[in-house]
Structure formats: C-alpha cells, structure tokens
Amino acid sequence: MSTTRVFDPSVYRKEWQWKEGDYTVTRTTQWSGPGCHDGCGVLIFTDKDGKFVKMEGDPNNPYNKGRLCMRCLGIKEAIEHKDRQIYPLKRVGGRGSNKWERITWDEALNTIEKKVKHYTETYGSHSIGCYGGTGRNAFWQLPSIARSVFETPHATSFISGNACYLPRITIMNLVAGDAMVADCAQMYEESFNHPEWKAPEVMIQWGVNTVISNSDGFYGHWIIDLMKQGTKFITVDPSMTWIAAKSDYFLQIRPGTDGALALAMLNVIINEDLYDHDFVENWTYGFEQLAERVQEYTPEFAAKVCEISKDIIIESARAFAKAKPASIHWGVALDMIKHGVAAAHAIMCLWAITGNLDVPGGNILMSAARWQAECAAFFAERSPQPKVGKPGAKRYPLIEEIGGRPSWDWEMLLMGDEKYNPLEDPYKIRMLYTTNSNSFAGNCAEAPRAFEALNNLEFVVCADYWITPTVSALADIFLPLSMSCERDSMRSWWAPLRTISKVVTPPGECKSDEEILLLLGKHFHPERFPWNDPREIMDAIMEARPDHLYKTTFNELEKKVYAYEGFEYKKYEKGLARADGEAGFNTATGLCELYISVFDAVGLDPLPYYREPTEGPVSTPELMEEYPFILTTGRRTWEFFHTEHRQLPLMREFRPDPMVEMNPEDAADLGLEDGDWIWIQNVHGKCKQKLYINEGMKKGVVSAEHGWWFPERDGSKEGGYYGAFESNINNLTTACDIGPTGNAAPYKTQICKVYKVTPENEKYELTSEEVKRSFEARRYLVDKPEKDPYA
C-alpha cells in the first residue's frame, strides 16, 4: 500500500514562494494558534493585500506529506471570526461584567508597568505569576517574559502535576538521559526511504488514540503508514478505539492500572527469558533488582487489577518481546494517573530490556524540543537569578535534586492545601500574566476551587484570540494575539526545525507572543532587548550557540522551510548520547537506569511499582455503591484542541455538544438512551454532557470530554461565563493529589454516578457550596494515609 502520492512538481514546487494566478503561495509551518501539538507543512495562499485565502497541505514537506487534519483545513473560520479580538482591551465594570473598552498598546503597557512596579516593590517580583496554555507556540516566550521582563521564577501552566508529557519527560531523562519517541522515520527527510530505517514488526499503542490526538509532536497518521508497511498493533485502552479494533491484541484495562499491566509484561519477558541479554548486560543498571521486583507482579495479579485475562497479558508480552524491532507509542493517559511516573518507568523498561532503545524502528533517543529549550535558556542566562526558590521543593525532594521547573505546581502557588499555604507570603501570587490559556474552563483540576483561587488574584493580564471564560471572569487587561500565519517564529519538536512565516497581515493590532516579549522587554529593560523584531531575536539565539548545527539566519532558513539536523541510531555505543563524548547514556551511572539512582538518593522508590488510584473499587470500596462507575476524562476529538475551536461553525457542525461515552449494557441498566443529556456526578462535583452509547467502551467506565464552553452563550458572570462550568468535567477531578515525584495527577481515575438531566434538575449553578464540597471531599480522599491494599 502506498505511503506517498504523486503530485505534479510544476504545481507543487520546492521553492519557498511562488505565484499562482492572483495569489501568492507560501510554504511554511502551521504551528498555532489555533493550538495543535504537531507542526505540519502547509501552503498558505494569500491575495495581493496580504489577506488569507486558504490553506492546503504541502506535499513536499516530509512531516505530513501534504496531508492535513480538519482543523487546519477549516482554519479560515478562526482567522476571520467575528468574535476574534484584535485590539487591546481593558475591562470596564467589575469582574464578570464582560464589558470592555478598547485601549492602545501604550495604555496597556503603562498599566502593566505600574502594577508590576507596585507588586515588585511591595512584595517582591515573585508575587507575579506567568501561566501559559499548551499547543500555541508560547513554550519559551512565556518563561522568557517571566524571567527577563518581570524577573519572577514562576512560569508554568495550570495543569495539575504537570500532567501533560512532563511526567514522562522527567522519567525518560532519569532512565536514559534524554527523551525517547517511537521511530516513524520522522528524523529523516527521506522519511521511510532512509536506508537504515525499519518498520517495527509490532507497535504498542499505550493510553493514546494516536490518530486523533496527534500528541507530543507525533503526527497521528504515521501509524497508518506503519500499518501499510506491515506493522502489527497491540492497544492498551479502556475503549475500543479504531486502532484497537485493528490490533492483534486489545488490552481493555481499567483506567489507571497501566503500571500493573506493564510490570506483569516485564514479569513474563524476564521469567521466560525473552529479553535482550546483550543490551541488558552491557548497557543497563539495576536489572537484577528489576527482575526481583517484577516477581510480585504476576500476570494473574495484573489480570485481576486490570480486569483483563491473564492469557492476553502473557501473549501480548511475548508478541512484543519476540518482534524485532518493536516500539511503544504512549499518551497522556500515563501522566494523568497519580502514580503514572512509575507506570511510565515500567513501560520504558519494556522497550529497554527488549533491545528496542535507539534502534531503527524502536524507541529512539532524541531531544524533544531543543530549539524552544535553547530560546528559554538564552533569556534565562541574560536575566537575574530568581531570589525565591522552588515552593514545591520541600514536599517533592526530586525537584531540589534535579532542578525541575522553578514553580512546580500551579496549585501549590494559588490553591494549596492544609500542608502548604500559598495564601501567605513569601509565596503569595498577586498578579497573573497568562497567555493562550483558558485555565478553569480547560485544564484546571477541581475547576470550582481553581476558579476561586484565581479570583483571589488582584491583577490579571490575559493574551488570547477570544474573550474566553478565563478572560471574562478574570482579566483586567486583554492583549490580542496573532495566529500562526500572522507571526514569524521557529519551532522544533523532534525533527525537523521548522520556520513559521508571517505571510498574512495581522488584523487590527494583534501581536505574536514574541512581539509581546519584545514590547514588554523594551518597556521594562531596554538594555536586555536590543532587537527590533522576532527575526532578529531568533538570529541572536542561533548566533549565541556557535556549536549549533543550524549555522544560518531566519531569513535563510525560512527559504528552506525546515532543516533536519541529522540523526544516528545507537548513540550510546558511539559516544553521542553524553556531553563528555564517552559511550553510554547521559545518566548518573552512564547506563540506562532500570533502577534509578537519583530516586534512591532522594528517598523515592528507585524501581517501577503499581499503586491503586486514589478513588476506585479497591481504594474506596465504601463509595462504590453510590458512585459505581470509573470516570476517565479528556478523551480527544478530531474537531477541538482542548478548549479551542468551539466558536467555529464548521467544527461545531461535526460535534455540537460535549459527549460522554458509556457501554450499552450500563446505559440500559440505568434506562438511558443514546443522545440523552446526563449528569455525571461524584463527591467533588457534577457536570452534564450528552450520552453517546459506545459498544466499544469498557463496561463500568464512563469517558467524558474536557474543555467545553459555549461561546454562543452569555459570557458574563450571570450568564455562567459562557457555560464554562455546566459541562466542565473538571468539576469532578481533584487538584493537589500529585504523584511522589511532584509529577502526574489523577485526571483519568475518578469515580462517578450518572443520571438523566430532567427539566427539574437541569440547572447548574456554581455556588460556594460546590467549592466547599469539593474541598471536603478532597480532604477525605487524598489525605487518608495511602496504604497498599495488595501488600
């Protein structure tokens, strides 16, 4: 089957720009916003006035080979939307009045300056927090505003326990000294034609619906390309996804039990001597301890915990271990269980001991986002050291040991719990600068309490495209952002390094995050910001890295559209994985650490283990009678990126309502029918979504969508902030229940009951009772001493 198509080279050229009739066609990268975790090659058609006409996939870009998803194909609706805000605004009236007045950029900057001076002089600059969203290419721009403009250490996101890729990044760095990704030939311009590359014989899809989620710089339909080249699949998911239906083995586990499954697979592979002796003996640390640890995790044990058969665990472990090469592609599901770092650790041991680490078609070792890291480092190095340290460090010793991000969890700064009070100095945050984030309508766990914490802030600046629930409820000043085709930028995620070209004139006075960094920088510290535009910033960053492979300028690179930096397999054999040029891995022992020596040093369990989720049939049997279902949240959809795209008619035509999925037997037991609006409720709170009966859903599991708000409704406080709480599944999740490394949080392991929405009960009101109830429930569940019921 074909993994390429034939395009006419006289129509689809390799140069950067050409004319097609009255239009200019530019090859560039779409890297949000609107948000996305890919970075596909696109052709942008513009007219003689620099206005956007249409976007198509660039057939000459090896990343996506001309393909595009529906969100890019429908992007014109976002760019030209009537609700898009294109001027700086200040709120007139109280918070939640949703009444705004246009102001100039000068007024916005002067207001921000006045406030920053006040908070810095009165409380210290650490009373200012910078919080960003995901997928809109502000990964380095926001921390740079924090460090170089406001001089605060607090730059993070609103997600509990950094529960989006960072838990896996942390453990990958500890085990193997860098990040790793399933090899789909994405490191090579030749793609699948590279002579060294091989298609994996078997690929495990673990906690990810890859074709929909396109997560972590991984173009989802690469797995279809692999399938056409003979790859067989094993899928681990509570739901029968499309790829699960096409898999040789489908392991339909109870949400949150991934660690038990991975450990049992290791048990089979080690006890049946299916591991790679050469790799284990020469390149790993702690195999004997791992072999001893997995003895307690038998297939029988995991079968009971995961609610699947013993045989399928054994058979899939054998199939994975015997395939050469084999790879694992995994998802955010592992970050969204409290002990997910331990589960990810176990999964990494699977690809390591089977000899699939950094081999063609295996899981290859590679910096995830080198360019963005270099940009952030560039500004950090040119800024004063933060005076206040890391608030999470006392509670999570790993943070002190390996550095980590300065402010670990946003809830530690804004919400806290009885062990940590963030509402007192020296850590109290008073001013918030947030870009590209819809906070309580999006990723904030325990949304009502998060909302209350955010409401305690004294001064809030939001940069976005829209008046979102976050802007309506909190912002004092609104800054309008440019979309991807309206900004100059660069980005890498794995490979290649890609340029983003400003080919469309931004409407009104919209600016990119880079331009805002520059504007604020020049306003506050002109000596630190000698550049005139984002292109000059990027040139300065490239120039500051004389060893950097990209000895080029933005203007040069833009004409090439992308640059592959070269890639080698088995870097640990060639002295390419460590800074000192020695063979081995960039870890404390120089080996691939199955047993993590740093964990040992800080008193954390150095080996992978399994713990039950905080809530569930084993941990809280007393609650199961009232809340009999396992609730998993955050199922991805084709149409939306987190809270985005809800105002676009085309996307809403495909998916008008928030959908919650249940198995038909469960629905029948409760007398519920497909299309019914239902309340989903637990001890923390409730929300309503529309029922989709899915025969492929695991019995006993309820799977709900996140990020829903209704831009078509009233955005004021009285109107419920565009309905941001009504269908908000994070009314039912828990904040401040984070794994022992300071990473991973339980977004996917709640319990719940469901019942029909009726005219009598249909109203949702956010009251202080909701907040109180949520806090009490958290106290009951999270602060119980954690014991291992299997010990």
Binding site: D8, M70, L73, G74, H221, I224, M240, A245, F250
Partner: protein
Amino acid sequence: MSRYGLLIDYEYCTGCHSCETACKVEKNLPTGKWGIQVKQVGPWEIENNRWQFDYIPIPTDICDLCAERRAQGKLPICVHHCQSMAIEFGPIEELAKKSASKPKTVLYSR
C-alpha cells in the same frame, strides 16, 4: 473517453473528517451539505473478539471530482488531504484493476 472515479481503501479510513472538511471549504458548502460524507460502521463485535469498526467516505452528487482543481494539475481536494492516503483518483479501468487485488476497497464512478 475514459470515465474517472475515486477508489477508496476503507481498510485505512480512520474517520478523521479531513475529506469532508476539505471539500466543504473548497466548494464553500453551507452547514448540512456535503460533497463527500463519512459513515461509521461499528464498533460491534462480530464474534470472539473480532470487531467490526470501519469508516467509509461516500461522495455525494455535489462531487465533480474537483474538475476545476484537476484543470490546474491538482488532485481532488479529498485525495490531497486524506490523512490515511486512502482515496485514489484515476480512470475507472485502472482503479478497477487495483480494486480487484485489494480487499476492503470501494470504487465510485462519476
């Protein structure tokens, strides 16, 4: 003169909506109208853990195989953007030959 059509290899269609969206934008179709529409079959269990779960795109009477694009040397917009590369455009006779040797294909002639 040979007739043209679309060969759809629905073994690989993931239901991603790219063909539908691309077509709606290309043809400027309002809400409720489609030049190609994807239908879902399943998931339901056939027997013993064997599952039926497919998506099949169906071109509608609005589809003109992107005559205007083809005149410019371009592929039909759905063929260009299909994320699984599961839609092929060509003369019916050629596509029919391919279909004969590939299970789970459907051939649409215009």
